[in-house]
């Protein structure tokens, strides 16, 4: 127990890094995943093929391998200084590359969540909208997307929860987030492994619980009697 209290600073910094990773790769994968989903539901055949091959490639490869490839490929392509800072917090190139790898992997799952949401809207809805004279954009904005958005929330939330847990994988490559702190402390204080695991696991459980609660609140707010 003392180990947890004495090393509280490290654990807190670890979870801060975890949360920043979650935010960056969450935002990036939402953007890329939505673009890919729009490819996959578009009438243009080659765009559909591009979307499908992206999803099949990235969904079937282990995240560890994708991260290893990102670390190898991105600097080789000439992107050597991707670091930046927000306020007093600095993000080095390594952090950004890890976040990009996580985002590349998660986008495939975001894409599938968004696509299944759009596909869950009954085609009759759009037909009805068209037959009362709405234009394509009107039917998209007022009929299809509001319903799709509702259907997307639960699968998207479980994707973000998976992402929150997956951020731990970057520990293998030495990004100092919570799981990395756990490995370091477990090596240092071998007799306290149970407490260290309990403490760090509790942090992850809290993050997951917050995401799950937020999604169910949002879902209830947007729910509509059908």
């Amino acid at each position: 127990m003392d180990t947890l209290i004495e090393n509280f600073d490290q654990i807190r910094d670890g979870f801060l890094t975890t949360i920043w990773l979650l935010i960056f790769s969450g935002v990036l994968s939402t953007i890329l995943g939505t673009v890919l989903a729009s490819f996959r539901v578009s009438p243009v055949r080659s765009l559909r093929a591009i979307g499908t091959s992206y999803v099949n490639t990235f969904r079937n490869t282990p995240l560890v391998l994708i991260l290893a490839l990102a670390i190898a490929v991105i600097p080789t392509l000439g992107f050597n200084s991707l670091g930046f800072s927000i306020g007093i917090r600095n993000f080095n190139t390594f952090f950004v590359v890890a976040a990009l790898g996580l985002a590349a992997y998660t986008s495939a799952f975001v894409c599938e969540a968004v696509r299944s949401g759009v596909n869950s809207v009954d085609p009759g809805q759009a037909e009805a909208a068209r037959s009362v004279g709405m234009s394509f954009l009107q039917s998209l904005r007022m009929v299809v997307l509001p319903q799709a958005f509702r259907a997307v929330i639960p699968p998207l939330a479980s994707t973000y929860i998976a992402l929150a847990k997956n951020t731990s994988v970057v520990a293998i490559f030495g990004v100092p987030e919570a799981a990395y702190v756990m490995r370091k402390l477990s090596n240092q204080f071998t007799t306290d492994v149970w407490f260290i695991f309990g403490g760090i696991a509790l942090g992850y459980v809290a993050i997951v619980a917050i995401l799950a609660t937020a999604s169910s609140l949002l879902e209830r707010r947007l729910a509509v009697a059908r």
Binding site: P43, N60, A68, F109, D122, V144, A162, I172
Partner: protein, 282 residues
């Protein structure tokens, strides 16, 4: 092709789509070409790499890695199915002293990252590489499967268990003779798609330096002094296996639901088991 988003295209729209198809292909090929050209310039595809890769001991290493991955994945999936079945039944029990602990255990192991579990089992319980990985995989995937199985049993129409009770079956008989056989149609595809996740997740064994396919390919990368091609070979192996497994899961789902035994329930829960998020293991 007509979906909720657009009508079937007319001749003008079709011409426009053809133009867009060509434009998209050109842009995609341009990006891919630039990446390959850049990597080629940096010497990632140089001749000595291919000579090194042609050595038989390299392919031996890939084989060993793949064998280690499959070995861990197969043991883990068998144990996970058992763990999932036990905890699903416990969660469906009428008795709170079975239901509540099972629920806490399942919820806990589902929300803790697998990597933490592997480290915990290795440093805190077993100190044994292979079994630490398998045990951690069992705890995580077993908990996920417990939820899948529970959803499968709940998806069997209520009238089935009511009818079984009405003809005088006891609780165990209702579960064993009526509910479980009917929900297998939903569970089998879910188990197959969980295999994909387990296969990918064995790669996390690296944190305790279990030498599976990804670790071996990284070793090969160091040995031949080139990173990208050896890693891509491992990726291709994973994609081939996992893609066929996912296709098999979809085929199973279709074949089993066509038997019509669980017509409504199967479609209702297929979202739970095949939901995109459900597949997002590491």
């Amino acid at each position: 092709m007509s979906t909720v988003l657009f009508d079937s295209p007319g001749p003008r729209a079709r011409a426009r789509h053809n133009v867009l198809t060509v434009v998209a292909v050109v842009i995609a090929l341009a990006i891919l070409g630039w990446v390959i050209w850049k990597l080629w310039q940096e010497g990632e595809f140089s001749a000595d790499l291919w000579e090194d890769l042609a050595q038989p001991n390299i392919w031996n290493a890939y084989g060993l890695g793949l064998a280690a991955t499959l070995k861990a994945a197969v043991s883990a999936i068998i144990l996970s199915v058992l763990f999932g079945a036990v905890f699903a039944v416990a969660r469906l029990s009428d008795r709170i002293y079975f239901r509540l602990p099972a629920r806490i255990i399942v919820e806990f192991f589902r929300s803790v990252p697998l990597l933490l579990l592997i480290m915990f089992v290795y440093f805190g319980l077993l100190h044994q590489l292979y079994w630490s990985l398998v045990l951690a995989l069992m705890l995580y995937n077993g908990s996920v499967l417990a939820e899948v199985f529970r959803a499968g049993v709940l998806a069997v129409p209520r009238g089935q268990s009511e009818a079984a009770q009405a003809v005088g079956m006891r609780k165990g008989q209702v579960m064993r003779l009526v509910l479980l056989p009917q929900s297998v149609a939903i569970m089998l595809p879910a188990i197959v798609s969980q295999c994909v996740i387990v296969l990918k997740d064995t790669a996390l064994g690296q944190i305790v330096s279990y030498r599976e396919l990804v670790a071996e390919s990284q070793g090969i990368a160091q040995f031949v002094h080139h990173n990208i091609v050896p890693l891509c070979i491992a990726a291709v192996i994973y994609i081939a296996i996992n893609y066929s497994l996912s296709k098999f899961a979809v085929y199973l789902q279709r074949a089993l639901s066509q038997r019509g035994r669980t017509s409504e329930g199967a479609t209702a829960t297929s979202d739970v088991t095949f939901g995109p998020g459900a597949n997002a293991g590491a």
